[in-house]
Every structure is written in C-alpha cells, then in structure tokens.
Amino acid sequence: MMPRPEGARRATLETVIALFFLTWRLATYPFSTFYRDWVALLSLYWIITAWGQESKLWPWITSILVLWLMTIYSRNQLPFIIDGLRLLS
C-alpha cells in the first residue's frame, strides 16, 4: 500500500538517507559481505518500511530481519557461550 502524499514526501526523504548509507557501505565493502553487514541490511529495511509499513508482508520482513541479525551475531558468540558453560561441568 502506497503512503499518502504527505507520507510519500517523507518516505522519499527517508529513502534518500537510507540510500546514502547503502551507497556508503557498498562503496566501502565488497558486495559479497552485504548479507552480513547490519548497516546495509537496516538501510534496505528502512526503505521497505518507508514505503510498505502498512503492507501485510511487513511484519514478516521485520521478523526475518531480526532472525537474520540474530544469526549473524550468534555465528560469532554462540560457540563462545557454549564453550564458557563447559566450566560448569
């Protein structure tokens, strides 16, 4: 669902800002790392939110983003947590 005219102006402005961040990340880091760059992912999510927050898909997109960010973070930290808990045994 498209936002109303005043909402469209705001959505356009937000998109420009998000695109700025997205361009910065794409210019600085290889495209192959895009999927695990939280700034790039949030910028993309920002654009989706600006234009489609009313959409039925939006809650799913939000949940998928959160799950994906959890995966990115846990990839580093989860093995350490499990390793640390071995001290209990």
Binding site: W38, Y73, N76, Q77, F80, L85
Partner: protein
C-alpha cells in the same frame, strides 16, 4: 567477623531506612521512578557516610555500625517503621519476579565466589580500597600507580562492602548495587515512554543482562556504575523529577569517573527536549536542596582534592592527555573529530558484532549483546520514525554516545565508556516484541543466551571459576604473584610495582608501605624505619644500585629482599 557482620546489618538497615525517609518526605507520590530514587538515595547516603567517616579517620566497622544503630534509633523516633507494603512495587508478574530473583541470586553467588582479578583493577582501582581500609581513614596514599589519584566515588561504595568485615569477599557487591540502579533507571525510562509495568520491567531485566554491563558489575570496574548513572539521569530528566535528584545523580556520576561528564551534552539535550512536560515539585525545598548539596559534594570532592594537592583537578591527566610509559598518548584530553570518526567506524564495523567472548574489560567488543543487536537496532529505526518520546530519548542518548566517542581515544576498550546506550535498544527491542510474536521469541532466546554467557567472564584467571571456588572464602584471592613474602612480612612498594592489591591479602592482614625514593639511601632508611625486609617494584636505578652494593637481593617476580 560475626561482630562485623552485625555492624554491617545495622549500617545497611539504617541506610535503607533513611533512603525510605528521603523518598517519602521528598516525593510522596513518586510514580515509576520510586525504585530508582530509592536506590539513588541509598548510594548517595553510603557515599557521604564513607567519605565523612574516612576524612575524620573513623572508618572502622564499629564506628560505622554504631552510627548505624544510632541513626536507626533516630529514624524510629521521628518516623514510623517503614512498611514493604507502602513501597510502590511495580506489578510485574510471577515470571518476571522469578527471573529477577534468579539473576539477583546468581549475582550474589558471583560476588561471593569471585575475587578481584582484572589487572587494571588490582593495579590502580582498588589498592586504595585496601589502603584506606587498613588505615581506617581516607588518606593521601592511594597506591603507587599514578592513576590511583583518579576520582574514587565508586571506591566509596566498595569500602562500604569491605570495611565492616575487614575482608574483600563482598567487594563486588558495590557493582551489583549499581546494576540494580540501572534496573530502576531503565524501568522508569520505559514507563516514561509509555510502556506498561510488565514490558518496562522486561526491558530493565534485558538491560541488566547486557553482557558488558552485567560482567562489569562483579569485576570491580567503574564503567558499569557510570553507565547506570547516565541512564538514571536520563530517566530522571525524562520523568521531569525535580532538579535536586538530577544534580544528585550527576554528582555521583562525575565523582566516579570523568567519562560521566563526557555524556552530559546528550543529557542536556534530553533536558531541553522534555522541557515542555510538567515537572513535579518536591514538598520540602530545604531537604531537597540538601540532597542536591550532597550531589555537589560527591561530584566535586575528588577534583578539588587533586587541585589542592597536585594543582590539577584531573591529575595525572594534563591538557595534552596522559602518556603511557612509551611516550604515546594513552588517553586524550578534549575533543577530537578524528577520535569520533575512528571510534564510530570501529563500533559500526567491528565491536558491535562482539567478535570475541564477552569479558568485562570489553577488549575489542562492545558487550552490547544479542538482544540489543538483533532486536534493538531495527527497533531504534522504527520507533525513531513513529514514537515522539522514544525519538527524544534516543536523540539524547545518541548525542551522549557521540560526545563520549569524541572525547576518548580509539583503543581496544573504548566501548566501556558507552555502556549506557544499550538501554534504549533494550526498551526498543521490548516495544517491537510486543508487536510481533517471532520477535518476542528471539528476545526471550537472547535473554537466556545472555544469562548463560554472563555466568563466567572470559578473562577469569587460568583455572576459571573453580580456581576461586576451590579456595576457602577467607583466603580467596588471585594467585598471580609468582612469589610473595610470608603473610606477616610488610612489603614496601616502589614505582612500577604492579598488582599491589594482592599484597594486602583478602583480609588486609599485610602491612603494605609505599615509597618513592630518589636515592638508594632514602629507600634503605625508609625500610629500616618501618622494619620492612622486602621491596616490590620495577628494577629502577635506585634498586639496581642497592643490588650492586649488596644491600638488596633480587627475588622472584618484582621482589627484592634486604640483606
């Protein structure tokens, strides 16, 4: 020890009663910030009591305990006994209550079993706690490390937990107190943002499980307490409590570490953004301004002391910063755009992912945790778009984040200074989880993982937790010194001596003396005068000369023995 325990009970009962008195007299209807104000008054009263008794050379268990009994009796004369039912407890539900009890119980166990182990902590943070406990006074001597002269607001609370038992087994409880302060802070902030009692408490629990903050609570670091006070001040400003409490909170923060002051621009912005909302006024202006006066004393004391003794309120920092032994600037003084850019880049690209295990010193990590990262960051974006009050708080805390990063040197551990920021991420995460069930599941999973991952800090000494747990509590200590003189032998510390806290022993039974000799004869004279046979210090020309002349003999580690 039993006598000390009884005095400790009396002291704590009195402080709790008078905190209750201040809360009821000043803010009869405090609302969600009641827990926060109560904890704040408690910490302020303890700090002022220790400072007062310390300056008058009366810092002993019996003195503090007797004062506790006397002031408790006074309280019962002028006020009715406090009732737990009267306290405005938040209605948080059985599950949250169980989680809080579980976290609190584990913190108490951690405080009991851990002994100070971080090298910075035992080198320059807490040797002054040992020295002042031994002396029964706050003396000029605070340790051999130049950084020992930094503000000691947090050490006042540590002294409270050490003096009564004349033992350091409960020293970590000082950090736990501040962790509960941050619990109250985030709860109050979340309520101001419109959350109900249960989600607000969930956000507060989530924040105190922030790995960096949680691990700092039981490791004698003072950055966690500073973060707690930044959050407290933000909560008080957003709730529009009277200025006296804000001054008290700011005073406590500045008295702990100057990095609190680095966050002030954001707190001022917060004050400005919330200026149009109604402010509650205290009933008793005189009492209220006395509270503010207490804050001013706690905030300025250490800086005025350094100004009087060293001619520089931020000694040993200078306008150029503070150099390390190699001559490079270890910590800057004043703002630097290059620091801001480097710190931001490091935060965004590296530290926020926590690429190595969680540890209280936060080397190479942010310690913000899974919940703040996975749920908090998207929530920050969403609620800054659509929630006016959330946007204001986020703007204030982001400004504080920026100002701190502008003022600190990019190094391995600069993220220690911005542990306040995950508070808004945790609140946002909980707000988002109320909208989407899958996010609620992620948040609960994150809470469990953060609870599990903060059981043992990664930088515990070799042998980990069992190393401490195996030792009887009276003897529990970090066995880092490769060799040490017999228990009752006094030791003289000279410049370059490290880990001096360990020399005191957990019950402060060893006499530790500090000497800064300029000639070999001066040191020998000092040792003879104090009947000390051992010296610990870096191999300086003074010590080398005495070794060459056969007056000192090198021993393992940094020790020397008088021949």
């Amino acid at each position: 020890m039993i006598g000390g325990g009884l005095w400790m009970l009396a002291g704590n009962a009195s402080v709790l009663a008078w905190s209750w008195f201040l809360l009821r007299r000043l803010y009869p209807d405090p609302g969600p910030e009641a827990l926060l104000l109560f904890m704040l008054f408690r910490l302020a009263l303890i700090s002022l009591a220790i400072l007062g008794f310390g300056l008058f050379g009366a810092l002993t268990s019996a003195n503090l305990g007797a004062a506790g009994v006397f002031t408790l009796a006074l309280f019962f004369i002028i006020d009715k006994p406090p009732s737990l039912r009267e306290f405005p407890w938040p209605r948080i539900g059985a599950l949250a209550c169980l989680a809080a009890v579980l976290i609190a119980s584990r913190l108490i166990l951690q405080a009991w079993f851990f002994s100070p182990y971080n090298l910075d902590v035992i080198s320059y943070h807490i040797p002054k706690v040992a020295e002042w406990t031994s002396a029964g006074a706050i003396t000029r001597e605070a340790g051999i490390d130049p950084r020992s002269t930094f503000p000691a607001g947090f050490e006042l609370i540590e002294l409270w937990w050490v003096v009564f038992l004349h033992h350091d087994v409960l020293i970590e409880m000082a950090g736990v107190e501040f962790l509960f302060l941050s619990l109250g802070g985030v709860y109050s902030l979340a309520r101001t943002l419109g959350l109900d009692e249960r989600p607000s408490f969930a956000a507060a629990l989530l924040y105190i499980l922030t790995p960096g903050l949680h691990l700092q609570a039981t490791s004698c670091f003072n950055d966690g307490p500073v973060a707690a006070l930044v959050v407290t001040t933000a909560a008080l400003l957003a709730a529009r409590t009277p200025p006296a409490t804000v001054i008290l909170s700011a005073g406590l923060g500045i008295g702990i570490k100057p990095t609190y002051a680095f966050a002030l621009p954001g707190l001022l912005l917060l004050c400005f953004l919330f200026r149009k909302e109604g402010r509650s006024s205290p009933r008793r202006p005189v009492l209220s301004w006395s509270v503010a006066g207490g804050g001013l004393v706690l905030g300025t004391f250490w800086y005025l002391r350094n100004l009087a003794w060293y001619g520089n309120p931020i000694y040993p920092m200078s306008l150029r910063g503070m150099a390390n032994p190699t001559g490079t600037i270890a910590q800057q003084t004043g703002p630097r755009i290059s620091s801001l850019l480097s710190n931001l880049r490091l935060l965004v690209d590296q530290r926020i992912y926590d690429p190595i295990p969680w540890a209280p010193q936060l080397d190479w990590i942010s310690g913000w945790g899974l919940a703040a990262f996975a749920c908090g960051l998207p929530a920050l974006l969403l609620y800054c778009r659509e929630h006016d009050r959330f946007r204001k708080v986020a703007a204030g805390l982001s400004c504080s984040l920026g100002s701190v990063l502008l003022l600190v040197t990019p190094d391995a551990w600069f993220m220690r200074f911005v542990l306040f920021y995950p508070s808004i991420l945790c609140i946002g995460g909980v707000m988002l989880s109320l909208r989407e069930t899958p996010i609620r599941i992620v948040l609960i999973a994150a809470m469990f993982l953060q609870f599990a991952g903060t059981t043992f800090p990664d930088d515990l000494p070799v042998g980990g937790f069992s190393f401490f747990a195996r030792q009887p509590w009276r003897e529990r200590s970090l066995d880092l010194l490769p060799w040490a003189p017999k228990k009752d032998e006094p030791v003289v510390c000279t410049p370059g001596a490290s880990y001096t806290y360990l020399l005191y022993r957990p019950d402060f039974s060893r006499r530790v003396l500090y000497a800064r000799p300029t000639t070999p004869e001066e040191l020998i004279h000092f040792m003879d005068r104090h009947r000390a046979r051992f010296v610990q210090g870096k191999s300086t020309p003074v010590l080398e000369d005495l070794v060459k002349r056969g007056k000192l003999r090198k021993m393992p580690g940094q020790f020397f023995e008088r021949t």
